[in-house]
């Protein structure tokens, strides 16, 4: 059952990411990215991290993507024209040869690495699966990583101020 769920979510994530990158309408890209985030949230639930899954939906799909959507709507972003000329025209002949050699090296390396994969299984005991309790995350976050937490709050403040100043209309 878990295997079916994993492949389902993985397929949705990969296909929607491909379409985000591949198709031309920016509005559809944003909606497809939201679908990808949903699939990843499902994968997090499979990995015993329900809090992170819900946080992903709230922050990424619920807030950041709304920001993207607003910008796309307000700028009335047009459908993108095709890339200027084929990419190979800018590379030149030697560039294509070097690129072909590098791609072949990468392909051989990938095949070699994948053939030497050892199966690694997830632990099953309650000690491991109980790690996703929100209380434990909270405790670790506010004790061991308290400095990073406070620094993140200053980062968000800086981002808010920066975004407001940058997007202001000049008077």
């Amino acid at each position: 059952m878990d295997v079916v769920a994993f492949y389902l979510f993985a397929a949705v994530a990969v296909v929607s990411s491909l379409l985000v990158v591949g198709q031309r309408n920016p509005m559809y890209s944003v909606m497809l990215l939201i679908a990808s985030f949903g699939a990843l949230a499902g994968l997090y639930v499979l990995l015993d991290a329900p809090f992170t899954a819900v946080t992903q939906i709230i922050i990424y799909a619920g807030a950041i993507m709304v920001l993207f959507l607003f910008v796309v709507m307000l700028l009335n972003v047009p459908r993108e024209e095709a890339a200027v000329g084929p990419v190979t025209a800018t590379l030149g002949a030697t560039g294509i040869r070097i690129g072909a050699v590098l791609s072949a090296v990468l392909a051989i390396e990938l095949v070699w690495a994948l053939s030497r994969l050892a199966p690694t299984r997830f632990g099953d005991d309650a000690e491991v699966t109980g790690i996703s309790s929100v209380a434990r995350i909270g405790r670790t976050l506010f004790t061991e990583h308290a400095f990073a937490f406070e620094a993140t709050s200053i980062l968000i403040l800086a981002a808010m101020v920066g975004a407001t100043v940058l997007a202001r209309r000049e008077r």
């Binding site: 509005m27 939906i57 959507l69």
Partner: protein, 340 residues
Amino acid sequence: MTPTIVAHLGLIFVIFNMLVLSAAFMVWLERKVCAYIQDRVGPNRVGFEGALQPFADVIKLMFKEELRPQAADRLLFVIAPIISACAAFAAFSVVPFGTETTLFGLLEDPIPLQVTDVNVAVLVVFAIASMGVYGIVLAGWSSNSKYSLLGGLRSSAQMISYELSYALALAAVIMLAGSLSLREIVMDQDGYWWGVIPRWYIFLQPLGFLIYMIAGVAETNRAPFDFPEAEQELVAGYHTEYSSMSFALFFLAEYVNMVTVSAVAVNLYLGGWLGPFLPDWLQWVYFLAKVFLLLFFYVWMRWTLPRYRYDQLMEFGWKWLLPAAVLNLFATAALVLWLE
């Protein structure tokens, strides 16, 4: 197909129908209460006291022509009401409304009266509610009409602004209960103080309850925060160009959202299904009564209070409600520390 699976499927069926019927009931309640507030009688032709009026409305809507503006983005125009309705129904799936029951001994293990029992239920409700923004934004954009676009933008800005206060009110309740599961929050409100006052969180958190209800009303785009769909201002806001079943889906989504917000408020602040005198397997009656009370307040507010202007609405959300929610959180933290 073990009996447990059949029981779960049956429960899902019952809950779904309950939500749809409650939306129909809300249509009737709204028109009757509106009528009596305005010193008239309201629908009284169809069925006893107009009780079948919602069904007549649905049949009328089903037979209307399905229009679509020519320059509308076809895919997004069709998907927007679907997203709204799906988010509204999905948010109710983690709300419990009764104790565990064995259906009079037919099952070996008791099943809880909710669709699923996740231990981050409060956050799931919040997450799915924040997905409901997309239905409105996409409806506004894809209709390719200036009223729709303005209504969609304003409505989504309003919803994401009030989500912050909503989340802070939730955080205060989570601090009191020590758990994110709605069932555990309700069970924490069991018992009485001095034998007579029930241990509901509304007595510990009056400001929190007020903040939650105000943010909930703003989240569901109901008066006095319904500027984005005000008839006098924006024709009909983001659902101007919709007709027939798409329009019905938006309406369904709005009423089911109201029911969900009221149900979560009852679970968080009013003790859920707990109450005196009734046996365990009938306590969902208390839940229905409390939700009905909150829904009546919703309708009462709509026909009594004037509408907020859009900038007044945003100012209220950011300058008054958010600081109040933060203060409430501090006060609750102090209370929790003091009580330990």
